[in-house]
């Protein structure tokens, strides 16, 4: 008998066309397979098709074979009803929404058990114990728990019927770095104990590299490459896999320029003929644009007409020496002993924070959610008030020309009712600049001048973030604050934006305050860094020093949690 799951020739079709094309997948007991891809790659839809949970209007064809059961997916989602829970279970990304808010955790965990076990105290205790949760959680409601604990409850719930296969759809993406590591360790342990197959769907190359036995790379609805573990990236054959690997910023060193993949991910339905990656590939030739390559190979497979081989000269990646922080520069802004509380009963959001930024210097603030990093930025820019302490600017200019800010979410960064040109002209006006400078400004952020006439909603996330950066630098501020500017972008686009920011601050000679949870990202941009935890600055220094010899316990914990770098 053939144990494990074998998905063959999966095709998922939505109202606007193909979402996943001819996908094969094999999962064996005890094995972890990572399905890696950017947004729109079809990785989540694959998981939904495997569990029969496709949204209305989306259909699947193909066969799913589980041990000796064979299921024809074309017959509709109901054919999977009997397999869900007992054979395949799905763990979702967001622990805040995947549990019912008005039911106690214990009840939700045991719901899938046989009726006589649902009320058994021992059973609940055993289930909670498996995911390292105390017994009291059974009586608590999800909103009373932290994100990490909720995801453990969700994990226990998805394991209730003892599935052979667990699919985790970005199961740790919504969690903080340190919690993320704990969760991944827990998954690994349980998987080993239960000899369960784990399909890990993730956009995070580091997690895939560190945790997976096999890695499958998807792009625009197709499998482009697969192989054993970290090898897939180390010896990438597909130009996309190599591009993805290279544009993922390293933690160990700073690159002069991140090798980015030009353009953005197309919709699977937009690519009719040829290789899906051809439009963005610098190796593509005529055949790539007309014929679709099939997956070929044995242990590692690649769908490419011109795969990268050992004979190819590797991409030259230039490692930069970290920019030395100039101790001699003049201060631009000094924050002294700033404290803030959101309500009298809440803990301090900012606790006696001291930071300083010099003219033309790139500074980072690193911290997890709740560390106070965003609150500090908002105080600095005047969007939030603080109770005590002092923020003093050393230049004499109106607030708008001291600092500007770029936020995380590009989709709501721009006024949907205004054209790009109007938004930029307004920002230029603040700096007494004429609207005739709009084309030059667009060019500076790498967008064509015609974009001035467009409205934000037709733009991709990366393009919207470029416009947001253009608007922020329009009044010629002395400081550009970026609050997680790339964390909602795809890896390949993230590299483009990071390169853009590096070149802009160099060109304009302005200072940068870069706020992020991502150490590798901040490494590529700043020369000096502050580490924040629970509203306090726990460590500061040059990027290199902090990285090489972290002094504070929290900093060390943060660094050791970074996956696969």
């Amino acid at each position: 008998m053939n144990r494990g799951l074998y998905l063959s020739n999966l095709v998922v079709t939505g109202p606007t066309g193909l979402i996943v094309t001819r996908m094969d997948l094999r999962l064996e007991p005890g094995q972890t397979v990572a399905l890696v891809g950017e947004s729109g790659s079809g990785k989540s839809m694959t998981a939904k098709a495997m569990t029969g949970l496709l949204p209305r209007g989306v259909t699947a064809t193909g066969t799913l074979q589980l041990d000796d059961i064979e299921v024809d997916l074309a017959l509709g989602p109901q054919v999977l009803t009997d397999l869900r829970g007992k054979h395949i279970s799905l763990l979702l990304q967001n622990p805040f929404t995947s549990l019912s808010p008005v039911h106690r955790c214990g009840e939700q965990i045991t719901a899938a058990l046989a009726p006589d076990l649902r009320r058994s105290k021992d059973e609940i205790r055993r289930r909670l114990d498996e995911v390292d949760l105390p017994e009291r959680v059974a009586r608590q409601y999800p909103f009373e728990l932290s994100g990490g604990m909720r995801q453990r409850v969700a994990l226990a719930a998805s394991l209730a019927s003892n599935p052979q296969i667990l699919i985790g759809d970005e199961p740790t993406t919504a969690l903080d770095v340190t919690t993320q590591r704990e969760m991944l360790d827990l998954l690994e342990r349980i998987q080993g104990e239960r000899d369960m197959a784990l399909l890990l769907i993730t956009h995070d190359l580091g997690i895939a590299r560190e945790r997976a036995d096999r890695i499958l790379v998807m792009y625009a609805g197709r499998l482009v490459e697969l192989g054993e573990g970290a090898d897939v990236f180390a010896h990438a054959q597909h130009p996309y896999t190599a591009g993805l690997r290279d544009s993922d910023p390293p933690l160990k060193h700073r690159l002069v320029e991140l090798p980015a993949i030009a353009g953005s991910v197309p919709r699977p339905s937009e690519v009719a003929v040829g290789c899906v990656f051809a439009p963005r590939c610098d190796r593509a030739d005529h055949r790539c644009r007309t014929d679709t390559p099939e997956l070929i190979g044995t242990t590692s497979q690649v769908a490419c007409w011109k795969p990268i081989t050992k004979a190819d000269t590797p991409h030259l990646i230039q490692i930069a020496t970290d920019v030395q922080a100039q101790n001699t520069g003049t201060d631009l802004v000094v924050v002294k002993a700033v404290s803030k509380r959101f309500s009298p009963s809440a803990p301090l959001a900012l606790d006696n924070v001291d930071i300083s930024i010099r003219l033309g210097e790139a500074v980072g603030i690193v911290g997890e959610s709740g560390s106070g990093k965003t609150t500090l930025a908002r105080c600095l820019i005047g969007l939030e008030s603080f109770e005590s302490g002092d923020i003093s600017w050393m230049i004499n200019a109106p607030m708008a020309q001291r600092a500007q800010i770029v936020f995380q979410d590009p989709t709501s960064a721009l006024n949907p009712a205004m054209t790009i040109g109007a938004s930029l002209a307004e920002a230029l006006g603040v700096g007494q600049r004429d609207k005739s400078e709009v084309p030059a400004l667009l060019q500076l952020v790498g967008l064509p001048a015609e974009y001035a006439r467009r409205r934000p909603h037709g733009l991709s996330g990366g393009e919207q973030q470029r416009v947001a950066i253009a608007r922020a630098i329009a009044p010629k501020p002395k400081l550009l604050i970026c609050d997680e500017p790339v964390s909602s972008l795809d890896v390949s686009v993230q590299a483009q934006i990071l390169n853009l920011m590096n070149s802009i601050i160099k060109e304009l000679g302005i200072a940068l305050l870069f706020i992020t949870h991502d150490l590798a990202v901040v490494r590529q941009v700043v020369s000096r860094v502050y580490v924040m935890n629970n509203g306090r600055v726990v460590e500061s220094g040059t990027m290199e020093n902090v990285l090489l010899s972290p002094q504070h316990e929290y900093t060390r914990q943060l660094f050791s949690s970074v996956a696969g770098k």
């Binding site: 569990t51 029969g52 949970l53 009803t81 869900r84 829970g85 007992k86 395949i88 279970s89 799905l90 979702l92 967001n94 929404t97 995947s98 549990l99 019912s100 808010p101 008005v102 039911h103 719901a111 899938a112 409601y141 909103f143 009373e144 969700a154 719930a157 998805s158 209730a160 019927s161």
Partner: protein, 332 residues
Amino acid sequence: MDTAHSHRRLTQLLSRGSLTRFIVVRLAATGLLLLVLSFVVFALLHLTPGDPARNLVGVRNVTPELLQSIRDKYHLNDPFMSQYLQWLGNVLHGDFGESIRNNTTVTTLLSDRVTLTLQLAGLSFVLTVLIAVPLGIAAAWRTGSVLDRSVSVASIVGIGAPTYAVGLLLLYIFGLWLDIFPVYGSGDGGFDRWWHLVLPAITLASGLAAMVFKLTRTAVVAELNQDYVAFAQSRGLSHRQIRSLVLRNAMIPVATSLGLVFAFLFGGTILVEVTFALQGIGSLLAGSVTFKDLPVVQAITLLTATVIALTALAVDVFYYAVDPRVRKRGSR
């Protein structure tokens, strides 16, 4: 010692998240709202164009002596605030004064009619809930189905259709044309009374049911799109278990809409009672307004406000009981 103890006990009772504190705060807010409303209602007497005393005389022959006696009786020469306080004091004892149109006290007048209105409102409410809530749930479960589409269109017509127009049409079809139900009047008590109330209640329920259907459907659809439903399915929970998860969550917004319906219910009774010539509070109000029978108008307005405010309070307490998040936050 004793005061310290009782003080501690009080703080404990009123601590964040306790039901007592919740109810006390809510009651206080309700009381305040009614107090302000009572002031506005009292002020109606003086806001109505013309001399209050003359307005209170009604159609009787106006003689200086009569005017004077009215002024004395209603303390119309006293300062405004003291008039109000005297009136409020009487109201709190159940005394709303005397009707101008009928020579009885407002209280007697109301107590004769309040039962019918409550019966009508109660029957309509039960009809509304029994029809609209199950239909809303069924339509949400199968969005786009024939059931969903047809009931949704019907509900849009129902929401827009004026109560009295529907009432008259039903009256014509079932009362005059098919001659199944009585046309006018309140019946002779007992079964006959309920028989007389069937058409009016259906009329009143039609608009409300359309509203409740729409709100229920929206609430259930919103819940069905939540991640926890997909997660429950992926864990292999049975259809019945998933339905109970969803309904428990949807119950909260649905209960709010039912509370909201109460206000419309009492607005609707006015029109339905007039249409079907029922001797209830609503038709009394309509008649009293035309006749400028101020004490009656004041009493009915205040009574309605009280009923609606108490319903809102009940909905809030219900919230507290079913939504653990509200319990945690305490009184909002």
